[in-house]
């Protein structure tokens, strides 16, 4: 996250309807120069429409989008200093990898020699040196992804828009690309606006996350704050797992991994007592499903050899990990 806090994109009262469906509903959003901002939400929540309006593929019904202080909401895509990495990559099938990457420079009239030098550098940055002469259909999904990235960053846009760029990749490649994207973003210092519906991806990569629901932003904050202090019930349920329990007439929300579980005969102070209904081992953590004072709870902890299904257990958590939501 940059220190100066300069706003590069400022969105005010942005709305967009498709037929009678409101896709984006009066959204305000400030994007800070150099940050990695993720727009996170379920499909149909409006995140992609906001991204497409920033790119210029959709016109807003009302509201403004300012890029570096200038209202661009009515400008065509080719007059905006932003570039997009598309979900389906949208590589030009009739051009080689190098021609794809050089396209932006070519239409700006940059000479062939300069273009070639720039595309070689861009290929290097995405670790695809030597692939310039191939055609897109000779590349794997992950390689196409990198070409799409190189084609965008070669233009040095002030903002890079990424529309679910990792959606088509398998899990291993996805995790690797998450790290690479993050590193590339730091290295280039370009503002990234990244759209995804994958909450884990959002938590891993972002400086800030904006959570979209039904065309509105429910909360915008750092991943940690989103996770530990979700402001609305939608955010708390969309990001991570949540226990909603009633203790002494009071509603409490607590994340599964902040709850400790121990056998009843232990001397530790407990907040609730319950019975273990199921134990699910999944590698690094073990999940316990516990019925505690008529509250079904999920508890995620390190494996606890001695606890088995049917055991009476005590559970407790640090008071400051509880939170209330709207």
């Amino acid at each position: 996250m940059p220190d100066n806090g300069e706003v590069i994109i400022s969105i005010r009262n942005l709305s967009r309807k498709f037929n009678s469906v409101t896709a984006v509903d009066d959204v305000d959003l400030d994007v800070i120069a150099g940050e990695f901002l993720t727009l996170l939400g379920p499909s149909g929540s409006g995140k992609t429409t906001v991204l497409r309006m920033i790119a210029g593929f959709e016109k807003p019904d009302s509201g403004t989008i300012s890029l570096a202080g200038k209202d661009v909401s009515q400008l065509p895509p080719y007059e905006r200093d932003v570039n997009t990495v598309f979900q389906d990559y949208a590589l030009f099938p009739h051009m080689s990898v190098a021609e794809n990457i050089e396209y932006g420079l070519r239409v700006k009239g940059v000479s062939k020699v300069e273009r070639r030098a720039a595309s070689e550098k861009a290929l290097e940055q995405v670790r695809l040196s030597g692939y310039g002469d191939r055609k897109p259909n000779q590349l794997s999904g992950g390689q196409r992804q990198r070409v799409a990235l190189a084609r965008a960053i070669i233009n040095r846009p002030s903002v890079l828009l990424l529309d679910e760029p990792l959606g088509a990749l398998d899990l291993k490649l996805r995790e690797q690309m998450q790290i690479e994207l993050k590193e590339l973003q730091k290295e280039l210092g370009i503002t990234f606006i990244f759209v995804t519906h994958d909450q884990e991806e959002a938590l891993t990569m972002s400086d800030r996350i904006a959570i979209f629901n039904k065309g509105k932003i429910e909360q915008i904050a750092s991943p940690q704050e989103i996770y530990e202090r979700p402001r609305t019930s939608f955010v708390s349920e969309f990001v991570g797992k949540i226990n909603k329990i009633t203790v002494g007439g009071e509603e409490i929300n607590i994340r599964p991994e902040f709850v400790t579980i121990f056998r009843t005969e232990s001397t530790a102070v407990s907040q609730l007592k319950g019975r273990v209904k199921d134990v699910i081992f999944s590698g690094a953590v073990t999940r316990y499903l516990v019925e505690a004072d008529r509250n079904p709870m999920i508890i995620a902890n390190n494996a606890h050899d001695s606890i088995e299904v049917g055991d009476q257990v005590s559970i407790s958590w640090a008071k400051d990990k509880e939170f209330l939501v709207k």
């Binding site: 895509p77 080719y78 598309f86 700006k108």
Partner: protein, 268 residues
């Protein structure tokens, strides 16, 4: 899908019969064009190229061939421009009556040629006061040539999706540059395939042509029809028929090759 051996034999023989029905008569026409007997006695006893030489020297045939090529080329050109424009409008934009327009564009291919012919003839001569000639043939042929181009272009545009154009505009290219550098190169093989098919259709069309050609112009099929019942012309008619068959194969073959080549290259 797996099919039993018996079913396979039945299907294979049915296919054989079907193909034989179409191609044996056509090959008889081609063989007979080299048959030295003027009455096409079968089997042919002697090979000759004299009918081909005579046909090539025949002024009626040469003029008919020129008219056919000219009408085909012009109708195809008109169809390419209008069919592509229509395909763009329907594939890329939403507007009131879009589905209806799509239907209206495709409909002429299934209308009986005789109806189209009569309708066009009365529209040209009575409605517009035009005299029939090359222009009316071209318009008549364009009505069904457009369908072919439109269908090819529309299918390709749909498969291409809009993200290639969006990517191009996103990278700084305006609409015209995008069309020139991205859309057209990806559309081209579909347009050539559609154009060849359209030309093939126009080249051997007879019904609409009869009603729109007027007295001065004979295309090859019309010439064949007019000379069919003159016994001494029979060998030359046969040569012209053979030429029509062979010339029709070329555009269809090329068009199929093009469609296959680009089948995998359309969208990445």
């Amino acid at each position: 899908m797996t099919i039993s051996r018996g079913a396979r034999y039945i299907l294979a023989s049915l296919m054989g019969v079907g193909l034989a029905f179409i191609y044996i008569p056509l090959s008889v026409v081609v063989i007979n064009s080299f048959n030295s007997s003027k009455t096409f006695s079968w089997p042919p006893t002697q090979f000759t190229t004299q009918w081909w030489v005579k046909a090539a020297a025949n002024e009626g045939v040469r003029s008919a061939l020129r008219w056919s090529l000219l009408a085909g080329a012009l109708a195809t050109a008109v169809a390419l421009v209008l069919g592509t424009a229509l395909a763009f409008a329907v594939a890329r934009y939403t507007f009131f009556g879009r589905d209806l327009i799509s239907l209206l564009v495709v409909l002429p291919i299934s209308l009986p040629g005789v109806v189209t012919g009569i309708a066009l003839n009365s529209a040209f001569t009575k409605g517009l006061g035009m005299s029939t000639g090359l222009l009316t043939i071209v318009i008549g042929h364009a009505t069904f040539c457009i369908v072919i181009v439109y269908n090819n272009a529309f299918a390709r545009l749909k498969r291409m999706g809009s993200s290639l154009q969006e990517a191009s505009m996103d990278l700084g290219a305006n609409g015209i540059t995008t069309f020139r550098l991205v859309t057209l190169p990806n559309l081209l093989s579909a347009l050539v395939a559609g154009g060849l098919l359209a030309f093939g259709l126009s080249f051997d069309e007879i019904v609409v042509t009869t009603f729109t050609a007027g007295p001065g112009i004979q295309t090859l099929p019309v010439w064949i029809y007019n000379n069919l019942f003159r016994p001494n012309q029979a060998p030359i008619v046969n040569v012209v028929a053979a030429v029509l068959v062979l010339l029709s194969i070329v555009p269809i073959y090329l068009s199929q090759r093009l469609s296959q080549d680009s089948a995998t290259g359309g969208r990445i």
